[in-house]
Symmetry: C2
Subunit: 639 residues, 2 copies
């Protein structure tokens, strides 16, 4: 009998001892980080809400109760009963019964109403039908990503259960080593921006944190450094993803090509956004005639192996490691990741990308932890002069620019990243129109912006509290405002918009390196009354940067024959800074200054050479911390 089986036997005895003697426990298994308890008395559990909570506290495990199949009402009958229990205003759009686990997935427009106060409606459902309800939100804006991911996971349910069971046994394996140490190996994003990737290792466990790419660099081989995959991808026990941006997520699917078969821990919105961005990554590569390092089947493997966690859930991911995600304020689902190692041995937090102040979309990054000895901190704007304009001022400037352009009958074209900045700008525009600061006019959303927005509205729990509350009320969901138009009919629609009245266009790509923004420049670029407004960082070498720097001759792929034309840009070009998703120097300092507890060591990463050096020496001098500016491919040992 393996040590995990022995452990489960013992847990079963312990659970039976804790429960009233008339509640049966037929089996106890692991599924990922959850302990699953099978019972012939699901209704008894549902009746007494404290039973599970007390058990979880006692065993220090996350516990899921599952009914034995024979205790279940037939789906047909259960369906009626469930509809009876759930108030109509919940807007249930789908019920999906899984006989193997006794779960019923309830998709509803208002999940909160399905759950009920303190979960009372859910418990009532189980008491009635025996099934264990799981609730997901019906996207207020239809999202093909969300529905594709959900359908795919439904389809792969059997395999996914196998994966979860295997991962669960792996997490709860016996510890083998007596050694005690903690190491961080830097694989990428040190003294550079791009290809974020670290390995956190103990004698027992190896965790890969992020696995991004760096456009233009030869970025695949970093995964082949011995620190990355050791004796192969299977030597990694777990992967943790801080957020969906490609410089953090692009090469995750490659792990599965290399033979990785373990879990990916991230938040639910990050899972969906990651799928969207990875597929787009393949798409862009194909369009540019590059061979991408993996194909879409590997993206599906990635999604299949993802175990979503919520902010604040303390989760065992290895015998000696507990992981907790906290809001990072950067993009939807972005997380500061906190690792508690050993039993009180050591604590490491990786900031991922953070925004410390509140924005319209998100609350500011969390910097309050039970313990942290080492912080790995992003430094994108860590340079001594990297102070950004207050967003309030930036918004005022943007509004002015729009009004000016409107007054002369021009159109405003804003290149923007699909995920994050677009939604932030949408909120600014929505408010400005609602309050009359700018005239009502259409805001056209092109590229992946609409889809990314749909994903945002699917997970309002991850948005700033006041925004979340507004989305919960249909009539106040700012993303559903009537001025927003999804460009979904291609060139003809763009032509019509261009020929029409003053309007605002938000289009990808954010740095004008391709995508529908190229069409918009063709349609509107020669109109001197219109205006191109940059609201995001333009990297060196991109067309966006060159236009920002004053270039007005733009290469345009002219026709189907691939002949290239040049367009002379005649529209105004304006940059409105201050909409970054990253903390500026002040924000990074504030994050550290107010951090509770203050860490002993800080590794400054994810910034160009000067930024990490500036931030590292600044934090050292101002707060007397041991700070480092690591290079890629170094290994730091703690303890």
């Amino acid at each position: 009998m393996s040590s995990v089986d022995t452990q489960l036997e013992e847990l079963k005895s312990e659970i039976m001892a804790e429960l009233p003697s008339d509640i049966s426990v037929s089996d106890v298994t692991y599924e990922g980080p959850e302990l699953v308890v099978y019972t012939r008395d699901p209704k008894r559990f549902a009746k007494n809400g404290d039973l599970v909570r007390d058990l979880a506290g006692k065993l220090r495990k996350r516990i899921t109760i599952r009914p034995d199949p024979e205790e279940l009402a037939s789906p047909a009958r259960a369906q009626d009963q469930i509809h009876d229990v759930i108030p109509d205003e919940a807007g249930v759009t789908d019920l999906d019964f899984h006989h193997d686990t006794g779960e019923v997935v309830i998709e509803a427009e208002k999940p909160g109403i399905v759950i009920g106060r303190g979960g009372e409606t859910l418990r009532e459902i189980t008491q009635q039908v025996g099934w264990t309800p799981e609730v997901v939100r019906t996207p207020p804006i239809e999202s093909s990503t969300v529905s594709n991911v959900r359908n795919f996971l439904k389809q792969e349910r059997d395999e996914r259960r196998d994966i979860l069971e295997r991962v669960g046994r792996q997490i709860h394996r016996e510890e083998l080593s007596d050694d005690e140490w903690v190491r961080i190996s830097t694989l990428g994003c040190c003294r550079e921006v791009g290809r974020a990737s670290f390995v956190l290792s103990t004698p027992e466990t190896r965790i890969l944190i992020d696995c991004g790419d760096k456009p233009g660099s030869d970025d695949v081989p970093y995964l082949q450094a011995p620190e990355a995959l050791g004796s192969g991808a299977s030597s990694v026990d777990a992967v943790v993803l801080t957020h969906a941006h490609l410089d953090h997520s692009a090469l995750l699917p490659l792990l599965f090509k290399y033979g990785y078969d373990g879990p990916i821990y991230t938040t639910e919105p990050t899972r969906d956004l990651m799928g969207l961005l990875q597929l787009d990554y393949l798409d862009v590569a194909a369009k540019e005639g590059r061979t991408p390092p993996y194909d879409s089947s590997m993206v599906r493997e990635t999604i299949k192996h993802t175990i979503p966690l919520e902010y604040g859930d303390v989760t065992d991911i290895a015998p000696d490691v507990k992981l907790t995600f906290h809001n990072a304020g950067h993009i939807l689902g972005s997380a500061v990741t906190h690792f508690h190692i050993g039993d009180g041995l050591y604590n490491v937090a990786f900031s991922g990308d953070i925004h410390y102040e509140d924005t319209r979309l998100f609350n500011g990054a969390v910097n309050d932890f039970p313990r942290v000895e080492t912080l790995v901190l992003e430094s994108t704007y860590g340079g001594r002069d990297d102070y950004q304009t207050d967003q309030e001022d930036s918004e005022r400037e943007l509004i002015e620019v729009i009004n000016e352009t409107y007054d002369r009958d021009g159109k405003v074209v804003i290149p923007a990243f699909a995920v994050g900045r677009s939604q932030e700008i949408m909120l600014v525009l929505e408010e400005a129109m609602r309050t009359g600061e700018i005239p009502q006019m259409p805001v056209h959303l092109d590229g992946m912006i609409w889809e990314a927005t749909a994903i945002h509205t699917t997970y309002p729990e991850y948005l700033r509290d006041n925004l979340r509350d507004r989305i919960f009320h249909d009539d106040e969901n700012p993303f559903l405002a009537e001025e927003f138009n999804h460009i979904d009919a291609g060139e003809e629609e763009r032509q019509a918009v261009s020929d029409g009245e003053p309007c605002i266009v938000l289009s990808t790509s954010g740095m004008i390196t391709g995508g529908p923004i190229m069409s918009w420049l063709q349609h509107i670029g020669t109109d001197p009354d219109s205006r191109l407004v940059f609201v995001g960082y333009q990297a060196q070498g991109t067309l966006g940067r060159r236009i920002q720097d004053g270039w007005d001759e733009i290469p345009i792929n002219g026709d189907q024959l691939g002949r290239s034309e040049t367009l002379t840009l005649e529209m105004d070009v304006t940059t409105v800074s201050g909409f970054s998703g990253h903390a500026d120097r002040q924000g990074l300092e504030n994050f550290v200054k107010t951090m509770n507890p203050r860490p002993e060591k800080i590794l400054c990463v994810h910034g160009d050479e000067q930024s990490v050096q500036d931030l590292s020496s600044g934090l050292y001098h101002d707060y007397n911390l041991r700070t480092f500016a690591p290079k890629n491919l170094e290994t730091f040992r703690f303890l």
Copy 2:
């Protein structure tokens, strides 16, 4: 055609262009780091000694000339001619013809006479018979290790040539990476003594330096750290061994068990001593009922894959790495290893274990290099108080102790390490008897000491200059002095010695952890007129340390039935310090102070926590160098 084949074709053309047109070149191949040139005119090469030298300088390669087989005299005829050419006083003991390579191995008592001034006798041989002579020394004291190794390599000649050819092509492979960095990963011997092991890596190449064990620690797993073997033992390109002691060499054979199939670079005496010590390691493990991690076939693989280099030879061991060994003064064949990386990119020296002052056996460690940016420095006696007695004083003390004991009719028993300290003490005793400072009396050598001494006399080039010169003259070889007696008849002989006249016994193990010293304690330990003299370091936890600390109850394995007895030690116990093979704190400082050039960075390793910290901060304060006291399993990146 592979890039190596193309390269060889080009080299062949270049060589033909350089040589007079009437000298043929039939083939050009790599054998390990050597470029082998086959010719039908070996005699022409032999006639003009400058030809090969000029070619080597021009191509910056080590060049070996080999005759085409058809140009060779028959062995029978060649044998006579060779004997005619070589003066009788050379003492030729064996000729061994290898038709596949056209080499004839000449074993002689005086290799210098076979070689002749500037190699003239060797060239004369080739001119006469066409064969390429290679000279080895007939051990002045018969060494089973040396003859076993030589016979084994003769037997495995075919496979060895395959290995060398493969290694040669590997060394000269095309460089694939554009990146430029140098990393050192610490696997063992950081903040501890034992399990010396490092990986030096570049984007192109991974070199394992030393691969020792640490008795009493769970030392095999360190090779399983991803930094050690990466994606398997085959990810290591080359192994470099600084010296034969088991804390540097014990686990080399394990690499072959794990699938390593590449070269081991070390000196010739280190190869032989390493074989001796590894086999003894297996033997001791078996006697103590432990399962050793590998068996003797793996020791043979290790020897088969060894490519011996001489001090000062600059050798390509990878497309981007040149290795040079320099005398380290620690034990026979011990080397400071210098790596030149890239074309002037970076230089790293590993001290290995060093003795900076001259000893009787060896010249002091070399610290003069063309360039060094980083030095990895042993710190065994790096502590602030680790100053040793001058050896002169120690010798005087030892002589006094011996005279005192002799005067009261007692015997002196010296536990000593077989390799190094024993021979140093032998030289002290030989001189003291020769000069009359102590009376003439037998010195009995027990355990592996005799065999280790035989290996020393086989390689006098590696000994201190004046000692080497004495060995070249049979009648002055101090190791052949008549007082030295090899205990080779077991217990009976030991009993007879114990019952006899005053004498000196040198016996392993050096820390009284087993071996024949246990018998000597049984025979002589109860004699209050005799004396036990420690001349080497006694580690914590060893019986030697306990006796040194005053214990006099010694567990002895009593009889064949395994009953254990206790012996009450009544002999005097004396410690004479100052015979260490390691530089003391002053020696380490002097090594750095006089080092040319002064390195930029020093990693202090191979010492207990306090020693490395003391040395690191001492060198930082006194010489303003960037110093580090790494932990195991860290990775430092340079550049």
